[in-house]
Amino acid sequence: MNQALTSSAASLAKPARKRVPIARISVLTLLGILLVTQLYPLLWLVLYSLKSNEEILSGKFFALPKSLQWTNYKQAIEAHYWQYLYNSVFVTVVTMVCVIVLASMVAYAITRFKWKLGPVVMLIFLMGMMIPVQSTLLPIMMIFKNIPGLMGTRWSIILPYIAYQTPIAVFILSGFMRTIPLEIEESAHMDGASIMRTFRSIILPISVPPIVTVCILTFINIWNEYILAATFISSAKYKTLPFGVNSFVSQYSSNYGAIGAYLVLGALPVIIMYFVLSEKITKGMVAGAVKG
């Protein structure tokens, strides 16, 4: 007990470490069970990726592969893995950067500038948050086919991705920026800094937490996106990872082991990166009025 008190700073952030042990144990048990249920799919996926089609389709919940099917991985890599991985990374990174730059500019303008149309613009963006992609494939194609050299390139999916991610990004970023005290900018303004400079060197750095949030949301929505990509991309040169996963689904057969291997290859780098960065991510991620 004393020890807990003296070891201090941490115990302040976690105010009640000295609770009754029973409560602590039961909570930890609960959290532990959750840990198992949420992490099990990862183990399952790895096992899955090493099984034969028959073993997978037999539908056993827990079963080890009889012999490890490394050929699944060979097939997955042969299905354009490196090319698709490169495309996925390229598309995702470009989209993220553009979403953050564009959305934070708009969010700043909406929350800070004095202009009549601000609320209208906000409303327009709010409306778009809910549009399901499936309903807009056709109109987007109608527009794109009139722009020479766009259809079928990476930009033909990056542009819609940006457009679909900005509303939620504007929503989150403007919620945060509203809470930044105005004095900060006013003093910078008086020192003669331009709006652009204030934005770049003061507002953006403060906004890192919600920006991280936006990054994660964007990533989740885009990394596995298939419907839009499948509609606009035709050349293997520009296809992304979900094409690889789906390439093992044919009309009258599916190669599940290879699908699993592809998913492992597609998700594992991300998961590892995520675990490594998680401390930074959770630290950095926050939004809204907390700071204000």
Partner: protein
């Protein structure tokens, strides 16, 4: 709040690039959908103008539409109810666990995994016992054979089975958002509260919860959007079957446009979906703004 006075040029520079792109690729398509929703059109051939007939048919004669709306809204309700749970878990993590980041990351894993794999996994859980389904086999071995169900194919149960998967998958997502909100509350506030005699759950009630309201709002809206657009998971697990028992608005719209080749009709469903969403967003937003004012 007073705002910065800037020339129109600067405003344009900040807003137009994004707004134009967004209007062209999100807004124009909605208007285009409104336009096609007034036609009887198979997507390929000649369009036939029929006014609001599609809407009338959807609202009054479509046997699938209203159940799909019900499924969608229930989905939204469950997803939103999950957020307090996520907040509670986040609080517990923050309080009882030495390295909470590891847990948060681990809980987040299902969100990253493709829906293809999530679907396969849950099928092995829901399958009939004869096919090695986990739940049913466990029930059987406990002698509870009468409790076993064909979880994904009994019309009354299937939808709930799907909700459960979605809730399970997205728990980590909301947990992450809530957790970061909590861990960014300055520790000084707790110290001050401790001096005032507020500790443990009491401190949570008076400090943590009010301070995370804005994040709570983001989570609620994300949950709402997510459930209204839920599509992939249902397509993978049941395809909307048996006999539309698990159709939601998005799957119904997709089936109408692409499987039944009724693009006009599908567009009309999309427009209805957009309107529902818009109304809901405004309601949620207003409610929270009021709440924030009250607390702040």
């Amino acid at each position: 709040m007073n705002a910065l006075k800037v020339p129109a040029r600067t405003i344009a520079l900040f807003v137009l690039p994004c707004l134009l792109l967004y209007v062209c690729l999100v807004f124009v398509p909605i208007f285009y959908s409104m336009y096609t929703s007034t036609f009887d059109w198979n997507g390929i051939g000649v369009k036939k103008y029929i006014g609001l007939d599609n809407y009338v048919n959807i609202l009054y004669h479509d046997k699938v539409f209203w159940p799909a709306v019900k499924h969608t809204l229930l989905f939204a309700v469950f997803s939103m109810l999950e957020i307090p749970v996520a907040l509670l878990i986040a609080t517990l993590l923050n309080r009882y666990v030495r390295k909470p980041n590891f847990f948060v990351s681990a809980y987040f894993v299902p969100v990253i995994l493709s829906v293809v794999i999530i679907g396969q996994l849950w099928k092995t859980i829901y399958n009939p016992a004869s096919l090695g389904g986990m739940i049913n086999q466990t029930l059987d071995s406990l002698g509870l054979h009468s409790w076993t169900h064909s979880w994904l194919t009994e019309p009354d149960i299937a939808m709930y089975a799907l909700y459960f998967v979605a809730l399970w998958q997205y728990l980590g997502y909301h947990l992450l958002i809530q957790f970061t909100g909590i861990s960014n509350i300055p520790t000084e506030i707790y110290e001050a509260a401790k001096i005032d005699g507020a500790e443990g759950f009491k401190a949570d009630w008076h400090i943590t919860f009010p301070l995370v309201v804005p994040i709570f709002k983001i989570s609620i809206i994300l949950a709402f959007i997510g459930s209204l657009q839920s599509f992939d998971m249902i397509m993978v697990m049941t395809g909307g079957g048996p006999a539309h028992a698990t159709d939601v608005i998005a799957t119904h719209m997709y089936n109408m446009s692409f499987a039944s080749s009724k693009f006009g009709y599908g567009s009309a469903i999309a427009i209805i979906l957009v309107i529902v969403c818009l109304v809901a967003t405004v309601i949620i937003n207003t409610a929270f703004n009021k709440l924030e004012k009250k607390i702040g």
